[in-house]
Symmetry: C2
């Protein structure tokens, strides 16, 4: 059972899937980055998890489909459009099917399940909610930005003053997520951006309660190496929001929800939480072997903890 | 000024565009084959006209974009879908933009104008109507079929008993088509399928009146060569509906609307109309030169006729 955001979360999920029987593994994905482009419903984090677990992700970027082409985007450019989001041609099939099925009234949970099944993903890949949830970033210079505007269009450069989740209070945890969390022996929060990737999962109404009532332990793998994000704005954003990108800062962010913390060797000398067990290891996942080893160590560490 | 359906109509339109100043040429296209697939609004005849006039059509098929790829379709197949319509990757950009703009409340006329302008098409490309119009085929064996089901999925093999146009009576001629028809010195009905391509243009409320009140002559180029369609089911369908695929049959189909008929040499011995002038020439358009020559001959022939 893992809560995961984009590329970092997907790497860990892939490692876990190599170790755990499919029916024992559920991955809860962030949907607050979802957006519409040319009428298509795009779920970037679910797609990254989907493609990674299916073994078809682009290894160079971590997102998108391996070997994908840009014919549609080139033609859009010819029509005078300036597409700011990478929609590969194969990737489009995912968005078209999702959009068509959602329009038919199929839930995002069921859509995701169908896509995963078709690509041979055995474990459960579950959106945190089937309701509309959107990450919003209040910035000093540009006012309030939607996630994709902030992240893709402005390459997370604007200084954030606040991150909040539009409609978080009216988004419900799905039955499937509830069942997965209630039955989980171990919950692992992946090394994803705490604020932007895990934050919106925790913002879903009922999610924090479910985590607080966990039957097994919950651990988090810090997304930081030497206090810096491996990819993306996690450390920059933590600073801007007066949070620490240290082991202590991560533990504070998840206060009350976690029973253990996995950190990188390069953060062993940074401020520590003090009140929960810490596993120090190599958290950088460059190879398939790295992903499996980190998942294995996290499972062993978490399995020995008490709630 | 031309009324045109798919591939044959597009060839003539291309020839005419090579001869006539862009501001003097308007092409009215059939929209009754339009359909939705995965939520995309697809306008096959407008697209064929658009791509042909822009010089980007696939020369092998007459439709679709030259050099287009099938990555999206391959991925759809991987998802277990069995796509029955050829959606090329570049082609998708057209459908995505059209669908998004229509959803924003832009008319199909304006959408088509934007697409044409972006691809460098100088003449006006006008949908016959901005309203929803759908060709329906009553068949003996399979009941009533929508156009794409009949044409693409069943490859026009079912025997037709009747062709009709859903919502024809509530579809209005657009202002742009009205102005083009009212000001036309000459109207040319392209060598398109009379029943399936020109029939639905004539079914738009007000279109027959506008043609009847034409200020200049109207001619039609027969789509038949030796009594057979160059492409598609025109002759088969004429027979099934007790119409003749002869020059006489074509003239009867357009009775009251035309002042002259252009036929192929191979139909010179077939039954003739008798009451209107006939130009006998080579109507097969294999090369660019063929298209320009046929357009030129039609313009000269029509220009010398009286209404």
């Amino acid at each position: 059972m893992a809560l995961a955001g984009g590329v970092g979360g997907a790497k860990l999920a892939w490692g876990a899937a190599a170790l755990i029987a499919p029916d024992k593994l559920a991955i809860v994905g962030n949907v607050a980055d979802d957006f519409e482009l040319y009428g298509l419903h795009i779920s970037p984090d679910l797609d990254t998890l989907l493609y990674t677990l299916a073994g078809v992700a682009n290894p160079a970027t971590g997102w998108g489909v391996d070997g994908d082409t840009r014919q549609m985007l080139d033609m859009l450019t010819r029509y005078g459009e300036a597409p700011w989001f990478g929609l590969g041609d194969r990737d489009l099939a995912t968005h078209l099917l999702r959009t068509a099925w959602l329009a038919d009234g199929v839930t995002l949970t069921e859509v995701t399940s169908r896509l995963a099944l078709a690509l041979g993903v055995g474990c459960r890949l579950l959106p945190a909610t089937d309701d509309l949830l959107r990450t919003m970033i209040d910035t000093r210079a540009m006012g309030t930005l939607g996630f994709q505007e902030y992240f893709v269009r402005h390459r997370w450069q604007p200084v954030a003053e606040r991150v909040w989740f539009q409609r978080g209070e009216v988004c419900r945890v799905t039955r499937q997520v509830r069942e997965a969390l209630e039955s989980a022996d171990l919950i692992v929060i992946a090394p994803s951006n705490p604020v932007l990737s895990i934050g919106p999962i925790l913002a879903v109404d009922g999610m924090r309660d479910l985590l607080a009532k966990r039957r097994g332990p919950c651990i988090v793998i810090s997304p930081f190496v030497a206090g810096r994000a491996v990819k993306g704005p996690a450390d920059k954003l933590m600073r801007e929001l007066s949070l620490e990108s240290s082991p202590r800062g991560v533990a504070q962010f998840y206060a009350g929800l976690i029973d253990g913390l996995v950190i990188d060797r390069k953060d062993a000398d940074a401020p520590q939480p003090g009140d929960i067990p810490v596993l120090v290891t190599d958290t950088l996942m460059l190879t398939g072997a790295d992903k499996i080893r980190l998942a294995q160590e996290a499972l062993a560490f978490g399995g020995n903890l008490k709630k």
